[in-house]
Symmetry: C2
Subunit: 221 residues, 2 copies
């Protein structure tokens, strides 16, 4: 890395570092290292680490915008739903490439240009669908982070495949959490194709998304 430092190069390098080593690896020193510079040199291009993280949000969101800008789908009237659905699932792909990034988005109320631009496009699609501005406002809040393609999961029976041990552990909790356990055992039984693990994140995301989009569709004038 011999080229001169740039705010833009710094931010792109930050994404690269996090891609390789996770968010924990994103250190000012490590960031400088991959740029062939010293930590303090970064501060000429960036006020502090917070600004690096803000910049990361911007880089990721720009990546999303580049993708969704290429989508050319009708959005007038009833077509709004498919258009919004595609937009959101496209954005989601970016977060699948940068799994660490959701944590950064969660930690700041991002009002940078890229995020505003993404939301602007969202408002346009909903407007095409015939929603009022007030409805659109509610819709954006109802979608929350889902509009960018990710959700906060609190319920996760465990990553990894459904093993015999985990089923045994489940049976051990049947007394303490009877309803939960009987649900999970049925889930595991219904889907013996257990290599995928307990839950199919993508399917669940789409289920929740469709639930909301269908609900919104019913509100249209």
């Amino acid at each position: 890395m011999k080229r001169p430092l740039t705010r833009d190069r710094v931010l792109r390098a930050a994404v690269r570092v996090a891609d390789e080593g996770g968010l924990g690896a994103l250190t000012m020193r490590r960031l400088a290292e991959v740029l062939g510079a010293e930590a303090m040199s970064l501060y000429y291009h960036v006020r502090n680490k917070e600004e690096v993280l803000d910049g990361v949000v911007e880089v990721i969101t720009s990546e999303i915008n580049d993708l969704v800008d290429k989508i050319d789908l009708p959005s007038e009237g009833a077509a709004w739903k498919a258009a919004v659905r595609t937009r959101i699932l496209t954005a989601r792909e970016v977060f699948l490439r940068h799994p660490w990034a959701t944590g950064v988005f969660e930690s700041r109320t991002s009002s940078n240009p890229a995020v505003l631009r993404y939301n602007d496009g969202m408002v346009r699609l909903l407007r095409d669908g015939g929603f009022t501005h007030d409805q659109i406002h509610h819709a954006l809040h109802a979608l929350g982070s889902r509009s960018l393609g990710f959700t906060q999961e609190l319920f996760d029976p465990g990553t990894g495949p459904v093993t015999e041990e985990s089923l045994a552990a489940l049976r051990g909790m049947a007394d303490a959490f009877p309803h939960l356990v009987s649900m999970l055992t049925e889930i595991a039984h219904d889907d013996p194709d257990s290599t995928l693990g307990w839950c199919d994140d993508q399917k669940e995301f789409e289920f929740g998304l469709d639930l909301i989009l269908d609900g919104l569709d019913r509100l249209r004038a």
Copy 2:
């Protein structure tokens, strides 16, 4: 603070420290200080800071469980919706008391007993409503963190009240984000009761919640 240290006292103190100074104030040294001890003494009762944070999740969720356990509402058949709604809005109150806590929940896949117990109760209510186990599973994923009463907002026109300056700033962005700006100006105009700020978080939360609950209700057999 002269009483002997306890894992439980440590965890409760952690919640207190975060309540007073935010999550950033939750330091092993600060935590020891409010307990009248030294930092390293904590490690006898707690493996590391991660375990403190896990414990904080447990304390907060227990606080939630204490509240929702007192709810005595019918949940059979169509009554499921009101029961779940009340449960979730009750949980939400706890996070309004501990605003910093959402960040802790987000940062870990919490499978501690308290969270399992909360989810167990949720499954029971949905079961009472007549949902299949498979539907309940989808429902829990669709609700995500909303089942505990909080959401990840990415869209926030700005905290604080709607001032003349912020409206002027809005007009300045009309060229870059036309749809977004025209929506926001209409929102601000429709609701001149601007002291509340741009968005009523509680109203928006309930809107999104009802959207999902209504959608689920239509799936019932």
